[in-house]
Point group: C2
Chain length 279, copies 2
């Protein structure tokens, strides 16, 4: 385990204890922490984090969205958020308001220029993510949705170790090559003893905008089958829609622009399942 290095003036154990207390105090006021994970990149994990957060907030829940994906912190672009978060009177970061019920913050604010290649070696990732979790003041929330980096390496491990009561929502696409990675994610959660809330199958079928025929871009049904095999809840299928890509690129809100699309309805259905966590 990597600690903050001894070149600092204070005792590393003391710093660690203070950070532990800061993490706890930030997280204590949040009823449910949901880590959105994926075994591999490119399955629409961030898009799912963003759209689930919006769907939950539209149901009246107070939602925070925390982006800890060091290698590709895409949440600000997708939500159209610009600028830097401010500090409150306790020198904690204040998340930025997307709407009355949804605030968000991204580790992007702590990384150099967007196009810069940061070569994050393992120990650096651990302390960057940990410090980021400790330094954000969320206030009272019903849900904190955490957009975690893909894979089963240092980053999701750090998140799991620091947000110990988090539940995982695993995102996949239907093809077998992706599902192999999902099984790794599920086993990762078991190894680190993180509860799995369920599995979402993204990019699941596609209706041609010209002829309306259904096309299975990446196959279909693999997510539901894998959930059953691995004994976890299947939360639903989100169809592919090129408008999700376009809205994500421009920072427009897909669910406002497409209030009654199949994708909007699918995210609302997943949000309903998450709402059952609120007693």
């Amino acid at each position: 385990m990597v600690e903050i290095q001894g070149s600092m003036p204070r005792n590393p154990k003391q710093i660690r204890a203070e950070q532990d207390a800061a993490v706890k105090s930030s997280l204590d006021k949040i009823k449910n922490k949901i880590i959105v994970m994926s075994g591999k990149g490119g399955v629409g994990k961030t898009s799912t984090s963003v759209n689930l957060s919006i769907a939950l907030s539209k149901k009246g829940h107070r939602v925070g969205l925390m982006d800890v994906d060091l290698h590709g912190p895409d949440v600000p672009r997708m939500l159209g958020l610009e600028g830097l978060p401010e500090l409150n009177q306790n020198r904690k970061l204040r998340p930025m308001n997307y709407s009355d019920n949804l605030k968000a913050i991204s580790i992007e604010a702590f990384t150099p220029s967007k196009d810069e290649a940061i070569i994050w070696r393992g120990p650096l990732k651990f302390s960057a993510i940990r410090q980021f979790i400790a330094d954000v003041d969320w206030g009272d929330l019903d849900f904190l949705v955490i957009d975690s980096p893909p894979g089963t390496g240092d980053e999701p491990l750090t998140v799991a170790q620091n947000i110990t009561d988090a539940k995982a929502v695993i995102v996949t696409t239907p093809q077998e090559v992706a599902l192999a990675d999902v099984r790794k994610s599920i086993n990762f959660c078991k190894t680190v003893k993180m509860e799995i809330f369920g599995l979402v199958e993204n990019m699941s079928g596609f209706s041609c905008p010209h002829c309306n025929e259904m096309i299975e871009l990446f196959g279909s049904g693999g997510g539901e089958r894998t959930a059953k095999q691995m004994g976890i809840q299947f939360l639903g299928s989100i169809p592919f829609d090129p408008n999700v890509v376009a809205c994500g690129d421009s920072g427009a809100c897909y669910q406002e622009a497409h209030t009654d699309s199949a994708v909007t309805r699918a995210y609302a259905a997943v949000a309903d399942k998450l709402s059952q966590l609120i007693k």
Copy 2:
């Protein structure tokens, strides 16, 4: 920099020097080393590595395909290769034959069960990848195609540091969120002084199998625009084709099953550009 730990009986410097020599002797007989990289996962990096290798081998080049993607070593599944590689008389790993001109080896053989979650912390990745590169006996090759893990972290850094004359082929999809990550990959190559051969845009346009109309799933043209902006060669656009996904899942050879498809032609055109490296 992480060295092999001192609990081993021999001098770490000596082990390191022996490994350096082994890496060099394996790589000396290979004319061109091509690292296939991507800024993010899910853009079809492995699919591109596999299909480019096949396209190069069909042009008569002797090709090796090395899969060092620790988190998702998908090359064996995509090539339909099973079993473990054998050792030669010098106790080096012998790559497996896919065809007369194409052999391949994957780090998968060195990882535990496919579905197991390996929590690869940075230093472990470094030594695993390095050892793997040192231990493979490729023989004489025109091209070694290296399927590297996505991102700009420990893994591509390790590859770049150990295969110093490698040239990068960067794979992206057309949407802006992916292109932001590509710019990071390009800057990563500049930082580690790895020459960039060019950029491939994958999943670029899609012809509906029902009505044949073109659909831009992830937008289009972003790869070519980014290549121009960043001053690197644009190698071509590969259309999306659900058959690539299906073949990748089943281990069938896409280019044999679809000899005259737009995708097969597009990979052949990229292979032509790579062939110019052979004087």
